[in-house]
Subunit: 410 residues, 2 copies
């Protein structure tokens, strides 16, 4: 089996692939309200400051702070009430020393005012006179012009995946549409003479295609657009033609091989023939997923995944997702969310190999317990029963019962 | 301010609301390949075992295990090679004692065979004779019928949100379409006389609507369908009419109030008039988000969110998301993913109040440092700069610098 002579650690394997990619995402203008999860293609700068006018953060009276110095419950300051600021409009009055104006949360400060005294610390003395029971400093209870964002400031960097907060920020600045990266097209080729379409009834010896659909679901979640090329017979001409067409039409191509070694060998042979530099990584030091193939053919990344469903899904997460993110130009990466848990049993592992073990998380008063699910990696329902995946790093020879581990949710 | 006389802890407030809901999700048949993130409305049981035939997990020779007992490199066993199992078809031969058959990973075991010897532990002795260098046990390197799933077994419980692994599992069983819960319609009403549509240019004193869009994005992510009712003037007739219409047309209604107290008071008054039992929770002991209102009117949950963008978003996560999940009938809940981090500074907090603090996560060799972002809660870009939210529990009077905390990604 020459393919496994040099197994690379997954991180090195991925780097080798990414180093050959030149992400050049195609811009697409979309409505901001439908841009959740899309990746920003150029930085957003503020066309005006935020807020655009000084606003109060409380209900109370707009004042000149100097007028309130020394004010207390025992020694209040008295200010003349000269009006009320309407919501959503500029105040019609200006504030001079000794005066105050009723103002509501979010209201615009009148000219001359530089602070707001909260309603709680005031009393109506006479119809046009307010007792101020506490001093305020200049700027107190006020959001100044530009306090959130300055005019011209970069507010969202290029390569940011838009979350609800960014959608809100764009709207606050009046950007009702936004330029994002087109979804990279991910060509998906299934192969294996034993594999049939899920809608068909398998004859003895046949199995339904699973990998094309788990892969497609992961790609969709990562922001790519899956493109199916069907189940291709395990022959050189058929596979070569399908892979060549997918390479022309897509930004990345993933082949999920049949289970047999000859099916995998065919994949690797074709990925090597399709363009330069061809196969870069032939086997990864991970379990499951050792037979993963990483290639670049004339600039198009091509990935060969093992046929068994668990290997295919885990290696989609390890290799296909980062490639989709790279093609989207995603630069602002958030930490990978995990769930801390206590491992229920000892998990031995081979040093030098990175293991990914499906686990069930059981909630207890002290936190989560991670219970590994043992199953041959050909069993798709092993994953469907799991809450997440536990990584045993390559430099460990295993993990011990009771050890605190981080579980990656699937 | 009578509305804040009894502040409930967020968990109690939510429970009070959920206790009044009767989730009765409407079923909808969707194609499995487009069902990612949808919630299963009834349990899936296997219409046949998986696998449906005994398969080998390796390349090698199908044998009767008893024939190999005692086999070793120094004392091999010799078996007669009687053929090869084709991929994707039933073997044409049956295996008798003393015979073996060449078989490839995923291939169907011939009748009479009960184990497979890996290729590595064999040698071709003569054209029709194989040397077996290692003994195998019955069932070794074989997946038995039903080893993944038994006939009739419940494989995915009702109320499960479908992940890539479940999509794969459904396909493996031939379910190319699946019955899921319809997306709950979430009516969104913006109010506040100072609030304008994001596409308009604000005059002095006006601000663009942010909350309707952050809310809509969160709802979409949670599996709901946002329905906009526009920006409604802060008058009783206008707000009542909009809320009543939304209540008729939607499964849950969210009102994002204007910033002013009078705008919030109007919301609470209307939610109390619209149906029984009306307002259940008037103020939550959390920061930001104290003025949140939870109501149920004639069976429809109605939520009043504070006007400022940070409060509105945090409370959407705390209250709107769980309601959407409840309406979807989601029962299998996965743990909330977090990122462990070391807190950079002391964070004081008021005992009895649950605080949510936006933080930036900085990566170091030892892990993540969580740096709180301080900003008035009216600043939307406070959230857009944040990687996640840090919870200071109600029973803490703060957190200390250097403490290990869990950060919820946004």
């Amino acid at each position: 089996m020459p393919e496994f002579l040099t197994l690379l650690p997954p991180a090195d394997a991925l780097k080798k692939l990414l180093d050959h990619l030149q992400a050049d995402p195609v811009p697409k203008q979309v409505e901001t309200e439908h841009a959740l999860g899309r990746v920003l293609i150029s930085p957003v700068t503020a066309p005006h400051p935020l807020p655009e006018f000084p606003r109060t953060t409380v209900d109370g009276f707009a004042v000149q702070a100097a007028d309130t110095f020394g004010a207390s419950e025992s020694l209040p300051v008295y200010l003349e009430l000269i009006g009320e600021v309407p919501m959503g409009a500029a105040p019609e009055m200006a504030l001079a020393a000794g005066k105050c104006v009723l103002i509501h949360t979010g209201g615009m400060l009148p000219e001359g005012a530089d602070a707001v005294v909260m309603l709680e610390y005031t009393q109506q003395a006479r119809p046009q006179e307010i007792e101020i029971l506490r001093a305020v400093a200049v700027g107190e209870n006020v959001i100044e012009i530009g306090e959130d964002v300055k005019d011209g400031q970069e507010v969202i960097p290029s390569g940011t995946r838009l979350r609800p907060a960014e959608i809100g920020g764009l709207m606050a600045l009046g950007f009702t549409s936004v330029s994002v990266a087109c979804k990279p097209k991910v060509g998906i080729i299934s192969s294996g003479d034993e594999v049939i379409h899920p809608g068909e009834k398998p004859a003895p010896g046949q199995v339904r295609d699973i990998n094309a659909y788990t892969l497609s679901a992961v790609v969709e979640g990562a922001g790519g657009e899956p493109v199916f090329y069907g189940i291709i017979p395990d022959t050189h001409p058929a596979m070569y033609a399908a892979a060549e067409r997918a390479k022309t039409e897509c930004d990345v191509v993933v082949v999920t091989a049949g289970s047999s070694v000859s099916s995998r060998d065919l994949t690797s042979q074709i990925l090597d023939e399709l363009g330069k530099p061809g196969v870069l990584v032939h086997g990864v030091n991970t379990r499951p997923g050792k037979p993963t193939i990483l290639a670049v053919c004339d600039g198009v990344p091509m990935i060969g995944l093992p046929g068994n469903p668990v290997s295919a899904l885990v290696n989609t997460l390890l290799f296909v997702v980062p490639v989709v993110k790279a093609l989207l130009g995603e630069q602002i990466t958030r930490p990978q969310p995990t769930v801390p848990a206590e491992l229920s049993i000892n998990l031995p592992s081979q040093a030098g190999r990175e293991d990914w073990v499906p686990v069930i998380l059981k909630s207890t008063h002290e936190g989560y317990i991670a219970e590994p699910i043992f199953g041959k990696s050909n069993l798709i329902f092993t994953l469907s029963r799991a809450d997440g995946l536990l990584k045993i790093p390559a430099d460990a020879t295993g993990l011990s019962a009771g050890e605190l581990v981080e579980v990656y949710l699937m």
